[in-house]
């Protein structure tokens, strides 16, 4: 069996499960973000009274942190009341950050566990050898009532990443390359197991970037076998004991793709589709793509490593007049550490706008919305029409280094000349 199948089997009281089977599995941690007041409405509509376990579920207020309008503020109020009434042990208010970062920091994401959240990017937790998957409000309400959810055991695709990346190639470039090959529906209903020497040597932050974007290929979940970096990270924070699962030798994947990371160059995902991925050099050959905004943030690209590389590129320089750079640290822990190391100061002196840790403008909620016709380069995860504001605004997805180098010049720029 694959490690994911072992996780599903253990959580559904079975010795064995196989692809296509429907199982009802216990959920180790359930998270509801602040777009999902409907979860509470569905909970009561279905006859819910108390949550199944007040230590195993939490709200994270990240999409509207802090509340941009009266409606979202009122929604927060209703969620706080629910949290209080149920005596939830964990609560992450508007001072916390993006749910996927915040939960990992809080030590509730552990190898071998099942994590379900009302957010498609819950695939991120494959970085820790957990099975993370996103659901909507009503599925979440059934979890709050019962502590379990039905799953179809997914087929598993292997994405083998081999080699050492050249300078200027970051985990974001790697996952964009994979996305360009597998396409936006290349893994629908399936799980992606990222393997290979690149993954074995990758740190926690890099692993989170890659697993995070598995959902952009339609994946139900992602997986990476925990390495020492992961074990060190979770051991220092774990709220419960955990079991690392291992895939049996000789496990046969449904499909297997291999990528040689050592031959890659910086990548861009071009408007208006995440899988419209091309080498950066090719996109800018013979033309200038002028930018209005650069954006570094989100559950994909707002970690300390991302802000550090931006600070390295922009230190002592300044972005051009009439452009803007928005920096949104993924969590308050990330922001504090970046302040301690002077990155935030460097970036502010370079002309950046720093906003509250959270989801910000990644989904067009607030704090950096694009006007009609504007062009943005972003370290986030989606460039759908209208994702960050106006429907005809153009969003290029790239690594944080590419974002920093590009906004420094006001045009899309190869970051390698600054590294």
């Amino acid at each position: 069996m694959h490690a994911i199948e072992k996780i599903l089997a253990r959580h559904s009281g079975r010795d064995k499960v196989s692809s296509g089977e429907i199982v009802t599995a216990k959920v180790d941690f359930a998270e509801i973000n602040d777009l999902y007041l409907q979860t509470i409405y569905s909970f009561y509509e279905m006859g819910g009274e108390r949550v199944w376990d007040p230590e195993r579920c939490a709200f994270v207020f990240d999409h509207y942190a802090p509340a941009p309008d009266i409606k979202s503020s009122s929604n927060h109020g209703e969620m706080r009341e629910f949290a209080k009434k149920n005596g939830l042990k964990y609560h992450f208010d508007t001072n916390s950050g993006v749910c996927h970062q915040v939960m990992a920091e809080a030590g509730v994401i552990l190898p071998g566990s099942i994590v379900v959240a009302t957010d498609s990017h819950t695939t991120t937790h494959g970085a820790f050898g957990a099975m993370g998957t996103g659901v909507g409000a009503t599925d979440m309400a059934t979890i709050l009532m019962t502590g379990e959810l039905w799953f179809r055991v997914p087929e598993i695709i292997e994405v083998r990443l081999e080699g050492e990346p050249p300078a200027g190639v970051f985990p974001k470039d790697v996952v964009l390359e994979v996305l360009g090959r597998l396409k936006a529906d290349g893994a629908v209903y399936k799980a992606i197991d990222f393997t290979g020497s690149y993954v074995e040597n990758l740190n926690v932050a890099g692993r989170m970037v890659i697993c995070n974007m598995a959902v952009e290929m339609g994946a139900k979940t992602a997986y990476m076998q925990p390495n020492q970096d992961v074990l060190d990270y979770v051991s220092a924070r774990a709220q419960w004991p955990f079991t690392v699962e291992n895939t049996d030798p000789g496990y046969v994947y449904e499909e297997s793709y291999t990528f040689d990371v050592s031959t890659l160059s910086p990548r861009l995902s071009c408007p208006h589709s995440v899988d419209n991925v091309l080498p950066l050099e090719q996109v800018i050959a013979g033309k200038e793509i002028r930018l209005n905004q650069g954006y570094i943030g989100s559950c994909t690209g707002g970690r300390e490593e991302d802000i550090a590389i931006a600070a390295q590129i922009l230190r002592g320089k300044h972005i051009p007049k009439y452009t803007r750079l928005i920096i949104v640290p993924a969590s308050s822990e990330v922001m504090l550490s970046c302040m301690e190391k002077g990155y935030i100061q460097d970036l502010m002196l370079a002309g950046a706008t720093i906003t509250t840790p959270g989801c910000g403008a990644c989904l067009g909620a607030h704090e950096g919305i694009l006007a009609p016709g504007e062009v943005c380069i972003s370290s986030t995860n989606r460039n759908f029409p209208g994702r960050m504001g106006a429907r005809d605004a153009e969003i290029y997805l790239a690594s944080p280094a590419t974002v920093a180098a590009s906004i420094l010049n006001g045009v899309i720029t190869d970051p390698r000349k600054y590294l």
Binding site: I22, L35, Y36, L37, Q38, Y41, S42, E45, M46, G47, G48, H63, Y64, D69, K71, S72, N75, T118, D119, S120, G134, V135, G136, A137, T138, D139, A141, T142, M145, W150, R152, A184, D185, V188, Y189, G218, K220, S273, L363, G364, A365, R382, F384, P385, G386, R387, R391
Partner: protein
């Protein structure tokens, strides 16, 4: 659940993500009717006003990809969609729609052969979509047992109410 659905086709393309079905700027709304009034605005702002109750949304590949927002399914239902027919569906949207009792029909080859405004007849029992204007029938994929069970009960809410002794 109604096993025979008849309605006018409203066409959209491939990879229609949930941001296009329900743009992010409306995510704080909670009134279902209000949510329905913004449905598919990200594709074409004229759609909600011209959509008639009972119309069927017909899409290409990977309908509902992207964000997990249940607002997308709530919006389609409250705009009056009687079903969505697509070449394929994204996973979270699929669960959300079935949980709320919105029939989803996976039917290959239909989207490219029909015109906007054609009248479709969906027979969920036989697993067939028939286009009235051409008389041509297109076979559909069968829903999985679990999804069919939820849909037949009218969604997950009645099932859970029964399980928790509320009905």
């Amino acid at each position: 659940m109604e096993k025979h659905i008849r309605g006018r086709a409203v066409l959209v393309g491939d990879n229609i993500d949930t941001d296009q079905i329900y743009p992010g700027r409306y995510l704080a709304l909670t009134d279902p009717k209000e949510i329905g009034s913004h449905c598919l605005e990200g594709v074409d702002e004229a759609i909600p006003a011209s959509f008639r109750k009972g119309d069927i949304v017909v899409a290409g590949r990977n309908f509902g990809c992207g964000s997990s927002r249940e607002h997308a399914a709530i919006a389609l239902i409250n705009m009056g969609a009687s079903a969505v027919v697509a070449e394929s569906f994204a996973r979270i949207f699929f669960r959300n729609a079935i949980n709320l009792g919105l029939p989803l029909v996976t039917c290959k080859g239909l989207r490219s052969e029909i015109a906007a405004g054609n009248t479709l007849e969906i027979d969920l029992e036989r697993g067939v979509v028939r286009v009235e204007e051409t008389g041509k029938e297109y076979p559909c994929d069968k829903l999985g047992e679990q999804a069919m069970m939820i849909l037949e009960a009218g969604g997950i809410k009645p099932l859970m109410r029964k399980r928790f002794g509320k009905e």
